[in-house]
């Protein structure tokens, strides 16, 4: 089977970001997406700590310790960008002003429930950050994740077994095997990478899939 690399997955997500979109890329793998958005599209990136129009990393020695993104990496601001406080930043997120948010996930359910902030290990200290606000607030929530765990256990399930981030919030799942939409009818495969077959992907999925329409 063809399994996309994280970079290839980011590239595939980037294809679905339209020109002019306001986008939040969560921490981790989603941040790679911006590397692959075509240069003829103008996309404005939001960072939850209080930035619109996040630019690329600064040149070495040019870092401003205050100017970081949600992943605590040094960034720059593009012309046309601006700063605001955290309450305003989350008003933007919760209030439905972002066109797209891209998040990683531990699990996604057949109804679009998202689990991405905690496992069932209660001894491990938890952290939630802005994930729950993005999950409920973005107009479209994209998830990008490996199709299975490293042990080949499915991460797309009828019901999530990990604590939820939000219920019924995921719109589209980009995995290393396929692109799958959460629809009122259920999970519909919209794209199979390479020669991957519907049956192969279904076999690695813990919920019933619908074939491409």
């Amino acid at each position: 089977m063809l399994r996309l690399s994280p970079e290839q997955m980011a590239e595939r997500v980037a294809q679905d970001i339209p020109d002019g979109a306001y986008v939040n890329l969560g921490i981790g793998m989603p941040t790679k997406v911006s590397n692959y958005v075509s240069g003829d599209k103008q996309v404005i990136y939001h960072s939850e700590n209080g930035i619109l129009a996040v630019g690329p990393a600064p040149a070495p020695g040019e870092e401003n310790p205050n100017l970081i993104n949600a992943g605590k990496q040094y960034v720059t601001l593009l012309p046309g960008g601006c700063y605001f406080d955290n309450a305003e930043s989350f008003a933007i997120m919760r209030g439905g002003h972002l066109d797209i948010a891209v998040l990683g996930a531990f699990q996604v359910s057949a109804r679009g429930d998202l689990a991405n902030w905690a496992t069932n290990n209660d001894k491990y200290p938890p952290a939630v950050g802005g994930a729950m606000d993005l999950a409920v607030g973005a107009r479209k929530l994209f998830v990008v994740m490996r199709h299975t765990t490293r042990d080949e256990e499915p991460k797309i399930l009828e019901e999530c077994t990990y604590p939820l981030t939000g219920t019924g919030v995921v719109r589209r799942i980009f995995t290393d095997l396929a692109v799958i939409d959460v629809t009122p009818d259920g999970l519909r495969v919209v794209e199979l990478f390479g020669e991957n077959t519907f049956e192969e992907v279904q076999a690695l999925t813990g919920a019933r899939l619908l074939p491409p329409a």
């Binding site: 700590n49 401003n64 905690a118 938890p126």
Partner: protein, 226 residues
């Protein structure tokens, strides 16, 4: 004359008692009042409740308060980060209580504490573990969680520049939680890089109005009237 400047970081935090609740601005490495935190650590008040987005990394900032055993509870959205070893240690040994709050709920709970609002309904966290035990409400088919104000006895705030009346401007993303915290504490203490004279800030550019600020301290207060 209204003049909120104090002479030293030490003096600025000298009346914070054991058991106080203390908000601390900052997000990651950005906009953290590190000198005020260090003064608080040296001051040594114990049993503190700390309200902050993160719980500090390495030996710096909030991590140093945790290391010294001064914190009994932390209210936080993202306490675990690369290097948050003192938070992890105190959490795992069970010596601190953690109240985990989604980030937007944290900033809005602080904002409403400063705004005299008694609660708000947020869709964030509805149907998740973080809403357990909380009042919920369905409006037009959408679920909401009732979240209550989060005030504090003291706020430690980091700004770029202030004036003696306490008006503040910030540096880029260093704004983060600082403006809300400035409004939500009984006593708001601000660390700035520089202090300009009254009238030295453009009134259109002020982010935190001085009415929210009680004390202001800069590295070099004697340059304040420059």
């Amino acid at each position: 004359m209204i003049d909120k400047r104090v002479a030293s970081f030490k003096e600025a935090v000298a009346d914070i008692p054991d058991g106080a609740s203390v908000m601390i601005g900052g997000f990651g490495s950005s906009g953290i009042p590190l000198k005020l935190i260090e003064s608080l650590r040296q001051h040594g008040a114990k049993g503190l409740t700390i309200i902050s987005n993160n719980a500090g990394v390495a030996e710096e900032g909030i991590a140093s308060l945790l290391r010294d055993g001064l914190v009994s509870k932390i209210v936080c959205s993202f306490p675990r980060s690369a290097g948050s070893k003192w938070f992890e240690k105190r959490f795992e040994e069970g010596s601190i209580e953690l109240e985990l709050v989604p980030q937007g709920t944290l900033s809005e709970r602080i904002r409403i504490a400063g705004a005299g609002i008694g609660g708000f309904l947020t869709p964030t966290g509805y149907g998740t573990r973080l809403a357990e035990g909380k009042e919920t409400k369905i409006i037009d088919g959408k679920g909401y969680v009732l979240e209550l104000p989060l005030p504090a006895d003291f706020a430690l705030v980091r700004a770029e520049c202030g004036d003696p009346w306490g008006n503040l401007i910030y540096n880029t993303a260093g704004r983060n939680f600082n403006p809300m915290m400035a409004s939500a504490a009984r006593v708001t203490i601000v660390e700035v890089n520089s202090i300009v004279e009254v009238g030295g800030l453009n009134p259109e550019h002020v982010v935190t109005p001085g009415i929210f600020v009680d004390r202001l301290v800069a590295e070099e207060v004697h340059h304040a009237q420059a």
